[in-house]
């Protein structure tokens, strides 16, 4: 190497290092700002580096993290089709390492594990019943853990909390309503009215937490009276307020304060009754109130839940037919009902 080349190299190195010294704090500050706003993902862990295949490694080294995540999510479909659940889990762990702020991957990975893998385990007749149960539980927990891991990246995302709530309140899984309520509580904290109502609905299904549920319903009503436009909310609020164990100062609503008229009250409560019977929603004085409304409105037997035979859900059209062909009285309005506000 000639002296001139050496001199050039030294000058170039000094020039680059000198400007490097000036730009380093600026770059670090911008990096931290972007990281705080979650525009820059956290560094890839040593473990993840080790698990990466050659193609993904090359992609990541070239600065194509999100592109690799997209293509890997397509490849994950193959594991799903082949029912290679552990490979699928590993694949989604890698995908979420590469693109951790994409909710879709957390949602999808959790869904594959908690729903698809768990359902496969539950219905797989090649396995012994104990093994089936063990595996199903394992995949349910893996799905739950995956959602929770996603929440460490997106802690304020109500939809991931809601997914956990949905998982543990799903009657086709292994419902754990307390876990579902805890998740829905978080979703309600960050989310909109829908998540708040979901939290209330779960609480109304947990024996012993009815008073807490009524408190939540009352609070929701103070925040926004439009919740009363949702039939399930109306029914739950009314039934919870018929709880005989309520303390003195608890909210107690009358039928007329919740429903527009007796016809609406009957239709809603009639439709709510199967939820009480099948899903464990709080019923309170539901049957007593329904019976009195049946008497007042002269409800025909086919829409009377206490008469034998299958009972269809009441919609406007079948209710209208029943009204036209029987002696159901015109809707009786309540004084000061919500509809007259």
């Amino acid at each position: 190497m000639s002296l001139k080349t050496l001199r050039n190299l030294i000058v170039v190195a000094c020039g680059i290092a000198g400007t490097g010294y000036l730009r380093m704090p600026v770059e670090q500050k911008l990096t931290e700002e972007l990281r705080e706003r979650k525009a820059i993902p956290p560094p890839i862990s040593q473990e993840a580096w080790g698990q990466m295949g050659q193609t993904s490694l090359a992609g990541v080294l070239g600065g194509l993290r999100t592109v690799m995540a997209s293509t890997m999510s397509l490849a994950a479909q193959k594991h799903f089709e082949e029912k290679e659940w552990y490979d699928l889990k590993k694949q989604y762990e890698m995908i979420t390492t590469l693109d951790p702020y994409n909710k879709f991957y957390w949602d999808h990975g959790g869904w594959h594990l908690a729903y698809n893998a768990a359902a496969w385990a539950r219905t797989n007749e090649d396995l012994s019943p104990i093994r089936r149960q063990f595996l199903e539980r394992e995949f349910l927990e893996a799905g739950d853990a995956f959602y929770h891991k996603g929440l460490t990246m997106l802690p304020e995302d109500p939809s991931l909390w809601s997914e956990i709530g949905r998982l543990w309140s799903n009657p086709l899984k292994r419902p754990d309503l307390a876990r579902a309520a805890a998740a829905y509580k978080m979703a309600a904290q960050y989310g909109n009215s829908f998540y708040k109502r979901s939290y209330l609905y779960i609480l109304a299904r947990i024996p012993g937490r009815e008073i807490e549920a009524l408190d939540i319903a009352a609070q929701m009503l103070i925040e926004n009276r439009r919740h009363l436009s949702t039939p399930t909310f109306r029914c739950i609020l009314f039934c919870l307020s018929t709880n005989p164990d309520l303390p003195e100062n608890a909210l107690k609503v009358k039928l007329g304060e919740v429903f527009v008229d007796k016809e609406q009250a009957y239709k809603d409560l009639y439709n709510y009754r199967p939820r009480v019977q099948d899903d464990g929603y709080y019923g309170g004085d539901l049957d007593k109130v329904l019976k009195s409304l049946i008497e007042e409105l002269h409800v025909p037997d086919n829409l009377n839940p206490f008469k034998p035979g299958s009972k269809p859900r009441i919609y406007d059209n079948n209710w209208r037919r029943a009204v036209d062909s029987s002696k159901i009285l015109p809707p009786k309005t309540f004084p000061n009902s919500p509809g007259q506000e």
């Binding site: 730009r23 600026v26 972007l34 979650k38 070239g62 600065g63």
Partner: protein, 310 residues
């Protein structure tokens, strides 16, 4: 008798002439042919639909658009970065080989003008290529967004949702369409390509082999994507649990000082693909860094090139 006019230190006119001849030189190398398969890829993505994105449980229409953007932006970044290195690495050796360099430098053309002209020529070609790819992206994404939005509207109407909810869902989809945020991502990738071109120019002033310039350019591209890890180790040593040793600190400092940080460019582009908010201030800072990188590499290239003998 007129006195001989003194050659100015830097002439934008001369630079523009050299830049335009560089563009012609590169166009003759048929560099724009790569746009044909890219156009096919972008259009082909329009018809790429995954069954596993369908169904109520996984109804996330934005993800299809996000994937479209990720693949398109990734392709744009890959090709512009690749060509930024290769084109620049080829230019000076090509000028030496066909003796154009001697013709130019025997005239009163300062070497700075020559280098800046060459770099500007490469950047212009990259800009044209990026513009074409960006247009393709915007058009294909526009149609994709419209189709997905219409599908979503149809699906939500069938579910009986009120019009306000449908409009809200469609507005969410529109956010992932061709917006200004997307252009920030394209701009970030273009800026990165400009820095890589300037890096390759600096290396090519030293190097005697095109292959060495290309290989070194690629290494800097790769190391630049991880430079921030080394820098984090210096600024946020506490976050790494165990404090790095002396050797690690020296290595980290050297990497941070010498190599450009490409993660910032990639982060902005990724955030734009996620339709995440990017501030004008962020773009200004990124623009400032790009100018600093291109400026310093060009000045250093000039320093090395100024007394280079051919």
């Amino acid at each position: 008798m007129s006195s001989p006019s003194k050659t100015s230190f830097f002439s934008p006119r001369r630079v523009l002439i050299i830049a335009s001849s560089t563009v012609t030189q590169l166009v003759r190398m048929k560099v724009f042919y790569f746009l044909a398969p890219i156009a096919l890829l972008f259009v082909g993505l329009q018809f790429f639909d995954n069954i596993f994105y369908e169904g109520p449980e996984t109804m996330v229409p934005e993800q299809q658009l996000r994937m479209h953007k990720n693949i398109c932006l990734g392709t744009m970044m890959f090709f512009t970065s690749l060509f930024a290195i290769i084109f620049t690495a080829l230019l000076i050796p090509s000028d030496i080989e066909d003796r154009t360099l001697y013709t130019i430098l025997s005239k009163p053309v300062p070497r700075l003008d020559y280098l800046v002209g060459k770099l500007l020529g490469v950047i212009s070609v990259l800009f044209i290529a990026m513009l074409v790819m960006d247009l393709l992206l915007v058009v294909t994404l526009h149609y994709r967004t419209a189709a997905i939005s219409a599908n979503l509207g149809h699906y939500l109407t069938e579910m009986g949702l009120p019009k306000t909810e449908i409009a809200r869902g469609q507005a969410e989809v529109a956010k992932h369409g061709p917006t200004i945020l997307l252009q920030y991502g394209v701009l970030a990738h273009f800026s990165k390509a400009c820095v890589l071109a300037a890096v390759a120019l600096l290396i090519s002033t030293f190097s005697t082999s095109t292959l060495f310039t290309i290989a070194s350019g690629f290494m800097i591209w790769i190391i630049g994507s991880f430079q921030s890890i080394a820098r984090d180790g210096i600024f946020n040593a506490a976050d790494f649990g165990e404090a790095p040793g002396l050797a690690d600190r020296i290595l980290g400092t050297l990497i941070s000082l010498v190599f450009p940080d490409f993660q910032l460019f990639e982060a902005i582009a990724d955030a734009s693909a996620r339709a995440q908010e990017i501030l004008v201030d962020d773009m200004m800072k990124l623009g400032g860094l790009t100018l600093l990188y291109v400026g310093i590499y060009t000045v250093l290239s000039w320093f090395v090139f100024s007394d280079k003998e051919f």
